[in-house]
Symmetry: C2
Subunit: 379 residues, 2 copies
C-alpha cells in the first residue's frame, strides 16, 4: 500500500508512494477538501486540470446528505461526484464532536456513550447513531479508497482526564473498527487509525503504541490544529516521528498553512488535508509565491516563501496583470488581478472560483516543490 522511497538524512522528511484502488499517490501529498462530496465552486474537471491526486470527503456530512441510499444507488461516491481519483473519507468523529455542547431546544445535539455516539442533525433534527462499525460501513458503502476508524477528537486545551478518556475510547473504537474491517469481504478500502492524546507526551505515546499495535494501513495524527499553539503541534510531531512505523503513511489531519506543512514534512508527515486554500480563496485571500521559492534559510529555519494578499485591496483595482502568468489553467493566465478585484467588489461567485483555483494550484505547486526539495537533499 505504501512504499517509502526516500528518507531524508537531514530531517524526518520522506518521499513515498501510496497505492490505492483508484491510483497511486506520491507523498508528501495534500488532499483537497470536498467535505460534502464537492470542492466548493469547482468541478472535478478543474481538479483534474490541477492534477489533484487525492481528495477528502466527510462521512458525517455525506451520511446526513445525500445519505447512504443515494450513494449506494449511484454505485459509490466516485460515480456520484464524478471523480475517478482516490478518495479518503474522515470517519465523521471530528464533526460529531464539534457539535458537542451545542443545544437545540435545551436538548444536547450529541450524546456520547461507550458504544458510540448519538447525534441530531443540526439541519433537520433527525437522529443518527454512529459507532465504529456503522462509520466504517458507511465508508465501505461509499466505496472510498481510504477509510478512517472512528475516534474521539478533543478540543484543546483539555484536562488530562479528558485526554485520557479520549485516548482510551479512541483505542477501544479503533479495535472495534479493525475487527469489523477484518470481517468484511473484499474489495474494501484501506483503513487508517487515529492517534489522539492532546499535547500530553505520555498520552500521545500511549495512543500511538495502542493504535499502531492494531496494524492499520496508515496513521492519522488527530486532535491537532484544534486550539494548541503551532510550537505545541510541532513538539507533538517530534515525539511521534521516531515511534511511527516507517512503512506506513502518516497523515496530519486538518493542517494547515504552507509553512505548517513544510515544518510537518520535516517531522515525518506524509499526508495533509486542509480547507485553508479554498476557504481563504472564497474570502478573497490569495496565495502568492515570493520570488525565491526555497523553503529553508541558512540557519535551517523556514523562510517566508509566500504571501497571502487580499484581492479586495485597492492596490489591485487597476493591476492589469494575470492572476498567475505561470498557471497551468488558461483562465488564471488570462483573467487579470484587476478583474478578480472587481469580481469580489461586486460579489460575483466567479471570483471565489478563480481564487480557489489559484490557491489550490499554489498548494499543489508547494507539494511538488517539497518533494523536489526532499529529492535534492534540500529539506
Amino acid at each position: 500500500m505504501f512504499t517509502l522511497k526516500k528518507q531524508s538524512s537531514q530531517s524526518g522528511a520522506r518521499l513515498g508512494l501510496l497505492t490505492t484502488a483508484h491510483g497511486k499517490v506520491e507523498t508528501p501529498v495534500f488532499m483537497t477538501v470536498a467535505t460534502h462530496g464537492v470542492v466548493k465552486h469547482l468541478t472535478t474537471e478543474e481538479l483534474r486540470e490541477l492534477e489533484v491526486p487525492i481528495i477528502l470527503a466527510n462521512t458525517y456530512h455525506l451520511l446526513l446528505n445525500p445519505g447512504i441510499e443515494t450513494l449506494k444507488q449511484a454505485g459509490g461516491l466516485h460515480h456520484f461526484m464524478n471523480w475517478e481519483g482516490p478518495i479518503l473519507t474522515d470517519s465523521g468523529g471530528f464533526q460529531v464532536f464539534s457539535l458537542t455542547g451545542r443545544r437545540i431546544h435545551s436538548h444536547n445535539l450529541v450524546k456520547l456513550t461507550a458504544d458510540g455516539v448519538y447525534f441530531n442533525s443540526p439541519r433537520d433534527g433527525r437522529r443518527y447513531y454512529l459507532t465504529p462499525e456503522l462509520s466504517l460501513d458507511m465508508q465501505v458503502a461509499s466505496k472510498v479508497d481510504i477509510a478512517v476508524a472512528l475516534d474521539e477528537c478533543l478540543a484543546l486545551p483539555a484536562s488530562l482526564a479528558k485526554v485520557r478518556q479520549s485516548v482510551e475510547r479512541t483505542t477501544a473504537w479503533a479495535k472495534r473498527a479493525k475487527a469489523h474491517y477484518l470481517s468484511l469481504p473484499e474489495p474494501k478500502p484501506l483503513l487508517f487509525g487515529v492517534i489522539q492524546g492532546g499535547v500530553s507526551r505520555k498520552w500521545r505515546e500511549q495512543s500511538l503504541s495502542e493504535v499502531v499495535a492494531l496494524d492499520f494501513d496508515g496513521y492519522n495524527i488527530g486532535g491537532l490544529s484544534v486550539g494548541e499553539t503551532t510550537a505545541e503541534m510541532y513538539e507533538v510531531l517530534e515525539w511521534l516521528e521516531p515511534l511511527l512505523p516507517h512503512n506506513k503513511t502518516r497523515y496530519l489531519m486538518g493542517v494547515g498553512y504552507p509553512d505548517n506543512i513544510v515544518e510537518a514534512v520535516r517531522r515525518g508527515v506524509d499526508m495533509f488535508d486542509c480547507v485553508i486554500p479554498t476557504r481563504e480563496g472564497r474570502h478573497g485571500r490569495l496565495f502568492f509565491w515570493q520570488p525565491d521559492r526555497h523553503f529553508i534559510d541558512e540557519t535551517g529555519k523556514v523562510r517566508e516563501f509566500y504571501q497571502i494578499k487580499n484581492i479586495r485591496n485597492s492596490s489591485f483595482a487597476q493591476l492589469d496583470e494575470p492572476v498567475n502568468p505561470y498557471s497551468r489553467l488558461p483562465i488564471l493566465r488570462s483573467y487579470s488581478l484587476s478583474y478578480l478585484h472587481y469580481l469580489y467588489k461586486i460579489g460575483e461567485p466567479l471570483g471565489c472560483r478563480l481564487a480557489s483555483l489559484n490557491n489550490l494550484e499554489f498548494y499543489y505547486d508547494l507539494m511538488a516543490l517539497i518533494r523536489e526539495a526532499i529529492k535534492n537533499n534540500e529539506l
Copy 2:
C-alpha cells in the same frame, strides 16, 4: 454591417449576417447577458465552449463599477473581461429609469430633464449624469462593438401622455446621439437606435419613422417585456415588421422565453437578449427539450417544444442520468441530475454554474434550430 441572407415566404422570419469589429454573427441570434461584464458564475472560456456568438453588457452598471477609468486602463471592456467576441452595450436608459420613483432619505434617485438624466448610485449615493452624448462616450471608451443610443424606457401600463413624452424624448436623444456619433473619429462601434411607443400603434409607428429617419445601424424594439401581455407584445411586433428597413437588424430587448423568441422571429426579429436562461438556472430551473423539437404544429401554432423543471424536485434525487447526454460540455455529460439536485439541496454554487451552462446551451441549440428551420422553410 448587416446582410439579409433569406426572407421566409411563410412569415417575417429572416436569416442574416451581422458583421462587427470582433467577428460575424449569424442571425437570428441570442445575446448572453453579462450585465456587469461577467456572466454570473461563468468564465468566458465556458462561453467560448458554448460558442456564444455575442454578449450584452450594460453601460449603467459598468459606469458605476468598475468605472470608466478602469475600463480605459484595461484598454476596453473586451480585454478587461477577457472576451474576444462581439459585445453590445445597452445605453443604460433602462436601468436608470428602473430607479425612477425609488427614494433614499426622501430624495429621488433619478431626476429626468430634457437634457439628460441625473441619478444617484443606489450603492453609494454617488451622483452621476447621463446624456445621450455621455452614454455614447462611455460605450465608445469601452470599445464595444455595438452601442445603443440613450432612450427613455417606460414601464407599462402607461398613460398616452407618458407614452408621447417617452417617444418625443427618445427621438430627441436619438438625434443627439447620432449627431455626436458622426462627430467621433474611427474606430467607433456600430450604433443602434431604440423605438419606443408602448402598446400604442400610433406612437410605435411615429417612433419608428422618426428613429429610422436617423439611419442607425440597427433598430432596438424597446419598452416591451415591461408589463404588457404577450399578445400585446406580438401585436406591436406585427405593426412594426412591415415598416422596419429590411437591410438593418431588429433587436427585441429583454425577450424572452423560448416560445416568445420563436414567435418574435416569425415577426421579423433578428436579435434577442434575456437574463432568463441564467437567472432561471441560478434558481434551479432547467430547460429541457421535448422529444420532438419542431416548433410549429399542423395548425401553424408554436408547439410546447420545451419544459422547465425544478432540479430541487425530489424526482431528481436519485436520477442517475447525465444533466444532458448530448451536451458539448463534458461536465454536463458527466454530472448526473441526482448530483445537481444534491448541489442545490446543500446550497452549493457549483449547482448554479451547471444549471446556467445547461440553460445557455439550450438557448444556443434553440437559435441554431430556429436558423435551420428558416433555412428549411419550416418557419
